[in-house]
Each structure stands twice: as structure tokens, then as C-alpha cells.
Amino acid sequence: MTASRLVERLLQTLPVLFGISVIVFLMITLTPGDPVEIMLADSRATPEQAEQLRRDLGLHLPLHERFLVFLGNAVTGDFGVSFFHRRPVIEVILERLPATIELTLAAMLLALAVAIPLGVAAAVKRDTWLDRALSAASLFGVSLPGFWFGILLILLFSVTLGLFPVGGRTPFDLEVARVSGFLLVDTLLAGRLDAFAAALRHLALPAVTLGLPTAALLARVVRSSMAEVLTSDYVLFAEAKGISRARVLLRHALKNALIPVVTVAAIETGSLLGGNMIVETVFGWPGLGRLVVESIFARNYPLVQAAVLLYAVTYVTLNFLADVAYTALNPKVRL
């Protein structure tokens, strides 16, 4: 990708980011009635505290000024104070973020690990029973409602078979020094293999719940991409050179077939962030998604706003990176 094309693509994201911040800003105006009154409904806040919150939210200012303040604060990472936690919103969010990222990455790695071999197999055995079975399984996977799938897994593997914990991220008594915030990393750094295993067992079901529907979707992408590559001249030419079939498939074909897969995987990682809210709720996973759901019921609007903004910005960034990756990986496009 040339530098100018990169800058152009980067500039295209600016109006989108601006639009997103407008929508997120306007979200709070959708509440029926006075947001401060709603937020404080359950607590015994004094009128002074209410006035303070009103001021913090900038509700005393006219709309356009409020937006500028919001935008300025958002850029500097200041999303106000979480009334509920009595701490800055950004602090609460950052504390929960590693758990969410760990789950999302685990789910995506799992999805790729399932999707790539199955997609390749379906493409190589095109129009056979295997291809048809995988295509049916994939349709099944994309039709699964995530929250229900998670419950089924709990019912089967935790309740009935007792193989995995019902929820949470760690056993209650686990104490490991937090370095990266990723438990799988921190437990290894601490040299605690038992804790690592425990963390892995907690991660397994949520990651499967989140990852399997994504695997279904990615497998389709792998299959169609691989099937197209397999009809290419360069695969025929590679076979004519007398190199092994495995090398033709796994090196010549796969390297090209994976280019669109990387793009879709990057975009889907963004979608997984959304799916996280459901999965974290089902499994009691202490990540950002569950925090948002909890905050909704606590009417902690600033936190919900901040989280939605963060998710959307991450999503747009991943889309941008997907574009960059596509051009970077594709030698034909590179100039």
C-alpha cells in the first residue's frame, strides 16, 4: 500500500469517528426524562450531589457546547466519574479490559484453529459428502444464538459432566501477581502451572461459546477463498513442478487463500467484542461486557457511553487494520 493510499484511507475514518461520537453523545438525550434524576433514583443522593453530577455531565450547558466538552474529554480519555464506583470511568473500564481482550483473543484463535483446517478440507474435497457436511455444520453454527449455546455448554460440560467450572475467571482462592492482566500470561510468569490450568479451564467454555459461531463463518470464507485458489494456474503450475501435494496445498495455495481470511478475521474480532457482552453475562466473566450490562441496570450512563464509544472506535480501527493487512499481504496490490 502506498503512503498516500494509506493516508487517504486513514482520512476516510475521520468522518466516521466524528459521526460515532455524535451518536454516542446524543445517546443520553434519548433517556425519557432527566438523566440525573433517573441515575440517582435508587440512591439517597443529596441535592448537592445531584447538582454536582449535573455539572459533571455538563447538563447545564447548551447542547453544542456540551458536545465540544464531551469530545474534548473523550479525546483525553476523561469520561467523568462513575457515580456507582466513585472512581473515574476510564479507570474502571481499563481494569476490566484485559479479561475481555483475553477472552476475545482466545475465541478468535480457537475460531481460526477450527475454521482453517475445516475450510481447507471442504475446498479440497469439494462437492463431496465432507464438503456438504461442513457446509451444513457451518450454517448451523451461524444460526446458533450465543447466549443459548453457552447455557447448553454449561448444562452439558459443567452441570452434567462436571468437567469445567460453571462460570467466573478464576477459582476464588487464586492469587497471582497481575503483570499483564492476562491470566494465562500472568500465571505462567508466576510459574504457577496449576493456576494456569485453572485459568484455562475457566476460559474454555466462554471461548468456545464465542468462538464457534465465528469459526462457522470463517470456515465459509476459507472454503470459498481456497476453492478459488485451487483452480488457479499457479496451483496447476506448482503441481507440474512435481512438488508434493501437501506442499502445494499448504504453502502455495493456503498462503494466497488466507489473505481474505485475515481481513475477515480482523473485522470479526470487532464483532466478537459485541458478542462478549452476552457471553460474559452467561459465564459471569469479569470483563468489560459484563460491566456494561451491570452499569445499564445501575443506570450508570457515563460508563455505558464511554464503553460504547470505546467499542465503536476499536471496531473502526480493526476495520482499518483489516484493509491495511489486505494490501500489505497481497503482493499484487503492493506497489
Partner: protein, 323 residues
């Protein structure tokens, strides 16, 4: 003259929605070491399928259902898969029409050359193969070859790419090269360069060459023998000089009349009227009879490929009358 490649009764079938189609139907051919055979026909005549069958590279669901493919005395159809693969690239190789699509865009020219050398045991590692690879690029006339090994195909010019592809095909020092329209995508100067290169290899190394093309002019210039295919069958074969002067099949004559001639540019061109028959619906009779000016009722009976002069064959019952 002992044949390096001898094909008898080759039949390659592709299932289609309208029933099985024999893209190559009873093909016989021979090529000797150091010989260049021109294979001529329209697209869909079965010339590429014939040679992909020889190389064992027919894509499923297509498959070779009958015939004998003898290479250096061995029947390739009876060879285990692994042994056939060991022959590919080492004993017989393929060069394709469009190097841009034949070369893998994701690997450098050097990687694609070296992997062939390693696969056939000509080098132990890809690093060890690099000097050989550079020598190969040099041999096909690519300047500062050693430096260009790390280039990707798209960084080469069209003519260089074509030569690089030929270098890759020849990396295993094969005895037979199937060149499928190797010059169609090139301009006139480059075409001559590539054909000269193939000529040199044939003379110096005794390379046997099957030059698949729809360009009779190229065949006339470069190949001692020619084989004309139509609708999956060989319709005529023989010494190129004789076939061009006095064709023994109406289709060959039609092809010749549809070509412009340098020495007589004002001669009117006669495209062959009518259309190639649907291969899913052909009968045992002559497949050209619906377009043939010489067709008679007997043409609906099976027509064998028969002798029509010394070293010449024709699949026409009125071969002698074709002028």
C-alpha cells in the same frame, strides 16, 4: 526413431450436467527426444487436456478413462501417484500461457525455482539451490540473475516473467517440455526470443518439445512435425512442411485458408463456416462433417485415423481429394 512419449487411444472425460464429455477422445501421438511437435487446434479442441492427461494433472472431476501413456517405455497410467509426481518437473515439465497467473504471486522467483530443485534432489536446501537457480535464470537470458532471485513475479516485466517461468519448468532438467501457448501473451519480439530459447534447449540438450498453439505460423517456423486436433480428436498429423503445402484433412485446409499470408496479403480470408459440435452430443462419425465442404453420407460412419502418405495420418475418408 525411438519415441520418448507415446500415447495410444487416450480418452479423458469430464462429467457435466448434460452428461459426460470426452475432451480428449482416442488421441494417438508420439514425440521423440529432441523433436518438436506442434499441436494445433481451436480452444476446446482437446490439445491442452491431452497433455494435462500425460502429466497426470487433469483436475477432478475430470479423469483419464482409457488409453496408454508410455513415457520412456513406462506406462504412466499404471504408475503410483508418488512415482508420477517424481517424474513431473524432473522428466516432463509444463510451461503455461500466462506467466503472471502461473507464478505464485506470494513467493519470490527464487523460492519458486529453488523449491523445484530441492523437490527433485538437485539440492539439499533452498539456500544450497540458489547458485543453480541463478544459473537457470541466467540461461534463459535474465540479466543480473542472482539479484533478481528475490523479486516477486509482479516485479518482473512480461517477457522476463515468461522466461522465468520457463526457467522454473526446466529447473529439473526435464526431457519433455509441454509448452501450452507459451508465447501467445507476448509481443512479436519477445515471442521470437522465447521460441529461440526453446529451440536452443532442444538442440543442445535434446529436449523434446510439445508446442501447443493455435498459431500455425509458429508451428511452421519451429516444429518439424505437426498434429491438428478438432473436437477432442487428432484429425491430421505429419511433417509440418508437407501438411501446410498439401493438407490431408478439410479442417486443416480450412485453418490454413483462414490465415493471412505474408507473401500474399490481398488473398481473401475464409473463416470456416458453422460451429464446433457439442461434445456431449457427438456420434461415432466424423465430427467435422457439419462444416465440411466435402461431406458425404458415409462421413456419418466411424472414421479411423488412417495413413495418408509417408509419415502422414488423416481422419478423413476423402483425404486424397483434399487439396
Amino acid at each position: 526413431m525411438s519415441a520418448l512419449l507415446e500415447v495410444r487411444g487416450l480418452r479423458t472425460v469430464f462429467p457435466t450436467r448434460r452428461g459426460p464429455v470426452a475432451a480428449a477422445d482416442g488421441v494417438d501421438l508420439t514425440i521423440a527426444a529432441g523433436e518438436a511437435l506442434g499441436v494445433v487446434g481451436e480452444s476446446g479442441s482437446g490439445k491442452s487436456v491431452t497433455f494435462l492427461s500425460v502429466l497426470g494433472l487433469v483436475r477432478p472431476p475430470g479423469r483419464v478413462v482409457a488409453g496408454e501413456i508410455r513415457f520412456d517405455g513406462r506406462d504412466l497410467r499404471r504408475l503410483p501417484r508418488a512415482e508420477l509426481r517424481a517424474l513431473r518437473g524432473r522428466q516432463m515439465a509444463l510451461a503455461m500461457q500466462d506467466a503472471l497467473s502461473a507464478l505464485n504471486p506470494a513467493f519470490t522467483i527464487g523460492q519458486q525455482l529453488c523449491e523445484t530443485l530441492v523437490a527433485h534432489g538437485l539440492a539439499r536446501t533452498e539456500a544450497e539451490a540458489r547458485p543453480q537457480a541463478a544459473a537457470l535464470l541466467d540461461k534463459v537470458g535474465i540479466p543480473s540473475a542472482a539479484q533478481r532471485l528475490d523479486d516477486y513475479p509482479h516485479q518482473f516485466s512480461g517477457g522476463m516473467r515468461q522466461r522465468a517461468m520457463i526457467a522454473i519448468a526446466l529447473a529439473g532438467r526435464p526431457r519433455l517440455l509441454v509448452a501450452d501457448e507459451p508465447t501467445t501473451a507476448l509481443d512479436v519480439t519477445l515471442r521470437a526470443q522465447v521460441l529461440d530459447l526453446l529451440d536452443d534447449l532442444r538442440r543442445q540438450d535434446g529436449l523434446a518439445l510439445a508446442l501447443i498453439t493455435h498459431d500455425l505460423a509458429v508451428v511452421a517456423e519451429r516444429c518439424a512435425r505437426v498434429m491438428v486436433m478438432y473436437a477432442g480428436q487428432v484429425v491430421e498429423s505429419g511433417p509440418t512442411a508437407e501438411v501446410i503445402v498439401a493438407p490431408r484433412h478439410p479442417y486443416t485446409r480450412g485453418l490454413l485458408e483462414s490465415l493471412p499470408r505474408l507473401e500474399d496479403p490481398d488473398r481473401p480470408l475464409h473463416p470456416i463456416p458453422g460451429q464446433v459440435p457439442d461434445l456431449a452430443r457427438v456420434d461415432a462419425g466424423c465430427r467435422f462433417r457439419n462444416r465440411c465442404p466435402l461431406a458425404v453420407p458415409d462421413c456419418a460412419k466411424p472414421v479411423p485415423l488412417a495413413e495418408a502418405g509417408v509419415g502422414r495420418l488423416s481422419r478423413c475418408i476423402r483425404a486424397a481429394e483434399v487439396a
